[in-house]
C-alpha cells in the first residue's frame, strides 16, 4: 500500500516536471551545448575528443544540478507556499510517504534527463569518431565511444541524487528562494570537503581549522563522485572506489531524507 502511494506521488511529481517549461529549456540547452562541442573540438588538435567528453560530462552534471535544484525546491517549498500541499496532506497519506514519493519522482525526472544527455553524448562521439582519420585516433588515450563514460555518468547521477536530497531537506522548512540558495551553496562547498579537512597543511590553524574540519564531516563529500578526469584520460577507476562512492551517496541521501521527514512531520501548515 505504502509503495503504491509513493508511486502515485512520484508519477505526479514526474508529470509536473515534464510539463514544466524549465525542464525542456534546460534539456534543450544541454543537448545544444553537446552539439556545439563538435565544433569546439575542432579547435584542439589531438585533444578534441577529450574536450567533447569533458564538455559532455560537465554539461550532464551542471544541467542535472540545475534541474535538481530548480525543480527540487518545488518539491515541497513551492507546494507549501502555494498551499497546494493542503488538500494532498488531508488525504490518508503520511508526510514521510509524501516526501519519499516526491524524492523518487525527481530521481525519475533526473534519470530521464541523464538518459537523454547520455544518448546525445554518445551520438556526438560516434559522429566524431567516424569523421576522424585513423592516424589522429591513434594518439587518443581512450576510445571515442568509451563505455567507461557510463561509470562517470552513473556517479554524476548519484551526486544529483545527493543534491536532490539536500534541496528536499531545505525545502521542508524554508522558502523556495532560500532553499535554492542553500542547496547551491552546499553543492559548491561539497566540492571542497577534502580541502577543508587539510587546511592545516596550508598554515591555517586554531578555531578556523577546527570549524572547517567539523563542517567538512557534515557537508557531502561530492569530490568522491568526480571521476571525469580519470575516465576522459583513460586512467583506470577501481570498481571498489565506484561502489564505495555509490554506497556513500545512498547513505548520505538516506540520512538527509530521514532528517527531512522528521522536520516535515513537525511542521504546522497555517
Amino acid at each position: 500500500m505504502t509503495l503504491r502511494l509513493v508511486r502515485a506521488v512520484a508519477l505526479n511529481t514526474f508529470r509536473e516536471a515534464v510539463r514544466d517549461r524549465v525542464f525542456y529549456n534546460l534539456l534543450l540547452f544541454a543537448v545544444l551545448l553537446l552539439g556545439a562541442s563538435l565544433v569546439i573540438g575542432q579547435l584542439g588538435a589531438g585533444q578534441d575528443v577529450k574536450i567533447i567528453k569533458d564538455l559532455g560530462l560537465a554539461a550532464s552534471l551542471l544541467f542535472g544540478v540545475g534541474i535538481a535544484i530548480f525543480i527540487g525546491i518545488q518539491l515541497v517549498a513551492r507546494e507549501v507556499e502555494r498551499r497546494s500541499v493542503y488538500p494532498t496532506l488531508a488525504k490518508p497519506i503520511g508526510r514521510g510517504v509524501f516526501l519519499a514519493g516526491k524524492y523518487v519522482g525527481l530521481l525519475l525526472t533526473l534519470a530521464v534527463n541523464m538518459a537523454v544527455m547520455t544518448i546525445a553524448l554518445f551520438v556526438v562521439l560516434t559522429v566524431y569518431w567516424r569523421l576522424t582519420p585513423a592516424n589522429v585516433q591513434a594518439v587518443w588515450t581512450a576510445p571515442a565511444v568509451d563505455p567507461r563514460l557510463l561509470i562517470a555518468l552513473l556517479l554524476i547521477y548519484v551526486e544529483l541524487a545527493v543534491v536532490t536530497a539536500i534541496a528536499l531537506l531545505f525545502s521542508t522548512y524554508s522558502s523556495a528562494l532560500l532553499s535554492a540558495t542553500f542547496t547551491t551553496a552546499v553543492w559548491v562547498a561539497g566540492q571542497f570537503v577534502t580541502d577543508l579537512r587539510t587546511l592545516e597543511t596550508i598554515g591555517v590553524s586554531g578555531p578556523t581549522a577546527w570549524t572547517a574540519w567539523a563542517v567538512s564531516w557534515v557537508l557531502p563529500n561530492l569530490a568522491l563522485f568526480d571521476v571525469k578526469a580519470e575516465i576522459v584520460h583513460g586512467v583506470p577507476v577501481p570498481a571498489l572506489q565506484v561502489a564505495a562512492a555509490v554506497l556513500y551517496g545512498i547513505a548520505y541521501s538516506g540520512a538527509l531524507l530521514l532528517v527531512a521527514v522528521v522536520i516535515f512531520r513537525r511542521r504546522d501548515f497555517k
Binding site: 502515485a8 493542503y86 488538500p87 488531508a90 513537525r266
Partner: protein, 324 residues
C-alpha cells in the same frame, strides 16, 4: 445514541509570532464541541475567529498546543482516520498543470483507490459538481468558481462518511452557492456528517442543524438553531395605505409605533406578543388598506452579532498550553 463522529476537547493552538523573540499568539483557546453522525454542523465566526485553525487541527495540518480531537473515536493524528474524512481547504489551490479529471484520479489513488476506479470516480464527481464538460481542461484555465467546485469534488473522491468544508461558498456566484447548498443537503440525505465553516450566515441558517459561534479564538455560543435563535415574533411590521389622522392617533394610543413612509404610506410596528387580528380589524374599519403584514423574528445574524461584537482575544501564556 451513537458515538459522536467528532469530539473536540479543550483544543488550544498557539502560533509563535515575531522573529527574534517569538511570542505565542493564541489562535484557538480551549475549544470543545461534538458533532453527531448525520449532522450538518456549522462553525461560524468573523475572520480570524479560529474557524480554519479548528478544521486544520482536525485534518492534522497543524498540531494542537494542548487538548485533543478525535474523529470516529480515533486521534486526528492517526493518518488512517482520513480514509473516512474528506476536506476542502479555504481558497484551495490545486496542481494547475493537471486537468480536473487527472487531479481527482490522483487524489483517488492517494486515498487507496486503484487507478482505473479513481478515474471512473473522477468522471462521476465532475458531473456531480457541474464540471463534466471541463474534465479535460487544465486547472490553470479554471475560473475561481470552477476551482471551488473542483475542491468540493476532491473532498468527496473517496466517498467519505464525514465531509469537512472550509468556507465552501467562497468565490462562488449565486448559482454556484445554490448548487453547493443543494450538494450539502444531498450529502446529508445520504447520511453523511458535514462540518463546515462560514461567515455567510444565511447559508448556515439554511443548512445547519447545529452551530458553534467562535470569536477571538474562543467558543461564544453552541447549540441547535432553535436553541440559539429566538423563533418567536419580536415585532409585527404593518404597512398601510389611505391612513387618516384619527387612525394614527388611535394606533399611537394603542402603543403602536407609527411612521410615515414614501408614497403616502404608513408603517406601523407593534409588539410581537400581541395578536395582529384586532389591529387589522380596527385598520379595516377606519377605511385604511393593508399592504403588508410581516412578523419580525430574531435571525442568526442577530445572535452572531450579539456573541461576536467587541470580543477580545485572550493572551496566550508564554509556556503555551494551559487552556483557560
Amino acid at each position: 445514541m451513537s458515538d459522536p463522529v467528532i469530539v473536540v476537547d479543550l483544543l488550544t493552538k498557539d502560533y509563535p509570532v515575531g522573529f527574534w523573540r517569538p511570542r505565542p499568539y493564541r489562535a484557538l483557546d480551549a475549544l470543545s464541541f461534538t458533532v453527531a453522525a448525520g449532522e450538518v454542523f456549522g462553525c461560524l465566526g468573523p475572520n480570524g475567529a479560529g474557524k480554519s485553525t479548528t478544521l486544520k487541527l482536525l485534518m492534522g495540518l497543524v498540531s494542537p498546543t494542548s487538548g485533543q480531537a478525535r474523529m470516529f473515536g480515533q486521534s486526528v493524528r492517526d493518518v488512517a482516520v482520513r480514509r473516512r474524512v474528506g476536506f476542502l481547504p479555504e481558497n484551495p489551490v490545486f496542481y494547475d498543470y493537471l486537468t480536473g479529471e487527472e487531479l481527482l484520479a490522483y487524489y483517488g489513488q492517494l486515498c487507496g483507490m486503484p487507478h482505473r476506479e479513481a478515474r471512473r470516480r473522477a468522471g462521476t464527481l465532475l458531473d456531480r459538481v457541474g464540471l463534466g464538460a471541463e474534465r479535460r481542461l487544465a486547472i490553470r484555465r479554471y475560473s475561481k468558481g470552477m476551482v471551488q467546485r473542483l475542491g468540493v469534488a476532491q473532498a468527496l473522491v473517496h466517498d467519505p462518511e464525514l465531509v469537512i468544508l472550509d468556507e465552501p461558498m467562497s468565490g462562488l456566484d449565486p448559482i454556484g452557492r445554490r448548487d453547493v447548498r443543494t450538494l450539502i443537503l444531498s450529502l446529508r440525505d445520504e447520511g453523511k456528517t458535514i462540518l463546515f465553516s462560514s461567515h455567510i450566515l444565511s447559508d448556515a441558517e439554511t443548512l445547519c442543524s447545529r452551530v458553534a459561534i467562535l470569536a477571538a479564538g474562543r467558543l461564544q455560543a453552541l447549540g441547535s438553531m432553535t436553541d440559539l435563535v429566538e423563533f418567536s415574533v419580536r415585532t409585527w411590521d404593518l404597512l398601510l395605505d389611505q391612513v387618516d389622522d384619527a387612525l394614527v392617533e388611535r394606533l399611537r394610543a394603542d402603543h403602536a409605533q407609527v411612521t410615515s413612509v414614501a408614497q403616502g404610506r404608513t408603517q406601523v410596528q407593534f409588539d410581537g406578543a400581541r395578536a395582529p387580528e384586532p389591529i387589522l380589524q380596527a385598520v379595516s374599519a377606519a377605511g385604511a388598506r393593508v399592504i403588508a403584514l410581516q412578523p419580525v423574528r430574531e435571525t442568526l445574524e442577530d445572535v452572531f452579532l450579539k456573541h461576536v461584537e467587541g470580543k477580545q482575544r485572550h493572551p496566550a501564556s508564554r509556556e503555551g498550553g494551559g487552556a483557560a
